[in-house]
């Protein structure tokens, strides 16, 4: 049977070209440490934005506290990294994702009882709580944060294929993770679970009267999104070698939200485009003028006005029937 694709072909092409470009960049730009680092960070933010889009674009759950999981994972890595050696990647990653899953489960159990504006406010409140706990805790470095001096060590039973100290190696790990998360999400959304989630966004009552325990579905989505945000946060902390309370701040949540809106909510590739566009523009504008935020703001307003469905809609309309009417 002909399964339709939720993504237009032009967009898929852009993605493949972009991915190929990212893959070959280190070969030509190996000396450009700054740009490699920059692109790695953009990819980390893209993973973070994708995790948020699972909630916003598919589940209709607008969270303004998503940075909480981003930051928690970073702080977990920091806590598990000894002063003069690297933490085991597997152990620290598992711990970071476990902490995020647990936090998302507890927070989700409470916040998913609300909806709409209340949901936005309560997710924000929880993230702010976490922010101030970190901010005011001496052990976690307070407002200055703390360094992660040594990168995590990737080893398979004692064999180390490469060291993450090499930026190029870390770059490819992040690129691979980005591709992995992208395909994982596409798989998830093509599954019955994904259909139920999309149905909940359209009309939760209706899903309930079709026999779906919507709360459990939303909770599972919330935990998955939290874990994926944690994955991004872990990579960010390891890449920068630094954690500070800003990772959990509402600015960070807001930035991911902007990336999702800019790129296109509810499109698999939208958040990646959004992250790329926002970061690239930021880079260009900051080198050009001191008042870059003004121009960036204007750009966002313009995009939202001209392409209400985000940059992803530049590459063809989604084939799925129209908007939220019917």
């Amino acid at each position: 049977m002909a399964m339709h694709d939720a993504q237009p072909r032009a967009l898929a092409l852009v993605l493949v070209i972009g991915l190929a470009g990212l893959a070959v960049f280190p070969i030509f730009g190996a000396d450009e440490k700054f740009y490699m680092q920059f692109l790695a960070k953009v990819m980390v933010m893209a993973i973070f934005a994708m995790s948020l889009d699972l909630l916003i674009g598919y589940g209709g759950l607008v969270s303004l506290g998503h940075a909480m999981y981003f930051g928690l994972a970073g702080y977990t890595l920091m806590s598990l990294t000894p002063e003069y050696e690297g933490a085991s990647l597997w152990i620290s990653l598992a711990a970071a994702l476990g902490v995020c899953a647990l936090a998302a489960l507890v927070v989700g159990l409470l916040v998913l009882r609300t909806s709409g504006i209340y949901f936005i406010m309560v997710t924000l409140a929880f993230a702010q709580m976490a922010y101030y706990v970190v901010h005011d805790s001496k052990y976690l470095g307070g407002s200055d944060g703390k360094y992660v001096y040594v990168k995590p060590v990737l080893s398979f039973f004692g064999w180390q294929p490469f060291s993450l100290d090499k930026l190029a190696a870390f770059y490819y790990v992040i690129l691979g993770t980005l591709a992995g998360v992208y395909f994982l999400l596409r798989l998830l959304l093509a599954s019955p679970f994904g259909h139920v989630l999309v149905g909940i966004k359209a009309n939760e009552h209706r899903m309930r009267s079709l026999g779906f325990p919507t709360f459990s579905y939303k909770l599972v989505a919330f935990v998955i999104a939290g874990v994926l945000a944690g994955l991004a946060g872990y990579l960010a902390a390891a890449l920068d070698g630094l954690v500070n309370p800003e990772l959990l701040s509402w600015h960070q949540s807001g930035q991911a939200l902007m990336m999702v809106i800019l790129g296109g909510m509810g499109t698999p590739a939208g958040p990646i485009l959004g992250a790329g566009a926002l970061k690239l523009l930021e880079l260009l504008l900051t080198s050009w003028t001191k008042h870059w935020q003004l121009l960036l703001g204007l750009f966002i307003v313009l995009v939202v006005l001209v392409f209400p469905n985000g940059l992803a809609s530049l590459f063809g309309k989604r084939k799925r029937g129209g908007a939220e009417h019917g």
């Binding site: 339709h4 079709l210 325990p213 799925r320 009417h325 019917g326």
Partner: protein, 237 residues
């Protein structure tokens, strides 16, 4: 009468301060077809929503297959074998026709799998031609077929149709009625709400008329046919 699928007593439901249902009693037997009649605003949809737990009655009791479900969550009530086709259809515009259908496919409460994807497509050939279309790109009649098809895929013991032919061209409405007959013949009980009282009466075993949230008439369809004065008084036709 055979085992009762739904049995409700003394239902009083409110929307905020407005008292909508005034002690309604309703029962539906296995395989039975019940017409729910009444003018606009008499509480038909509220009654259906109360049975499904979407509206909580302030007093009264609802039993499904003998099990009290008055406080049970909607999804659990529905899983006991009830499929609800809401007024205004209720397809998911952001899912394709195929996805709208397969999403709900499951064995019935008693493990029956009479209705599967292939049978639904055979029953609704128009849908088979539009599998990859988005839900919102269908015509009104097709949307109605999609909702009924989706409901059948849950293999229910009871199908509730709220205003299934509303706003449809007479020819399409006729097709829907034909489908309802097929559903009935397959042994699924039905509750039908529709403005076309004659069509409802022709298809149901029993009818119940609501006026201002009270049951004013309940009797066999053949009986109602011979009582035009009941029609006149309560339904205004």
């Amino acid at each position: 009468m055979a085992e009762l699928l739904i049995e409700a007593r003394g239902l009083h439901s409110y929307y905020g301060a407005s008292h909508i249902l005034h002690g309604v009693e309703i029962s539906i037997g296995r395989g039975e077809s019940l017409g729910l009649m009444g003018r606009n605003g008499m509480g038909k949809t509220t009654l259906l929503k109360t049975l499904l737990g979407l509206v909580r009655p302030r007093s009264g009791e609802v039993k499904v297959k003998g099990v009290p479900v008055t406080q049970a969550p909607t999804h659990r009530i529905v899983r006991m074998g009830i499929a609800y086709v809401p007024e205004g259809r209720g397809i998911f515009p952001n899912l394709s026709v195929h996805e709208n259908l397969v999403m709900t496919a499951r064995a019935g409460a008693e493990g029956r799998r009479d209705w599967d994807y292939e049978r639904v497509l055979k029953t609704f050939p128009r849908l088979a031609e539009r599998l990859s279309h988005g839900g919102a790109q269908l015509s009104g009649g097709e949307q109605q077929m999609l909702t009924i098809g989706r409901a059948l895929l849950t293999n229910p013991d009871l199908l509730i149709l709220d205003e299934a032919t509303e706003g449809l061209a007479p020819k399409i409405a006729k097709e829907i009625w034909q489908i309802v007959r097929v559903v009935r013949a397959s042994g699924i009980a039905t509750v039908i709400v529709d403005k076309n009282f004659a069509a409802v009466n022709a298809i149901t075993d029993r009818n119940l008329i609501l006026v201002k949230g009270e049951v004013v008439y309940c009797g066999a369809s053949s009986d109602l046919r011979s009582k035009p004065e009941v029609h006149q008084k309560h339904l205004g036709v």
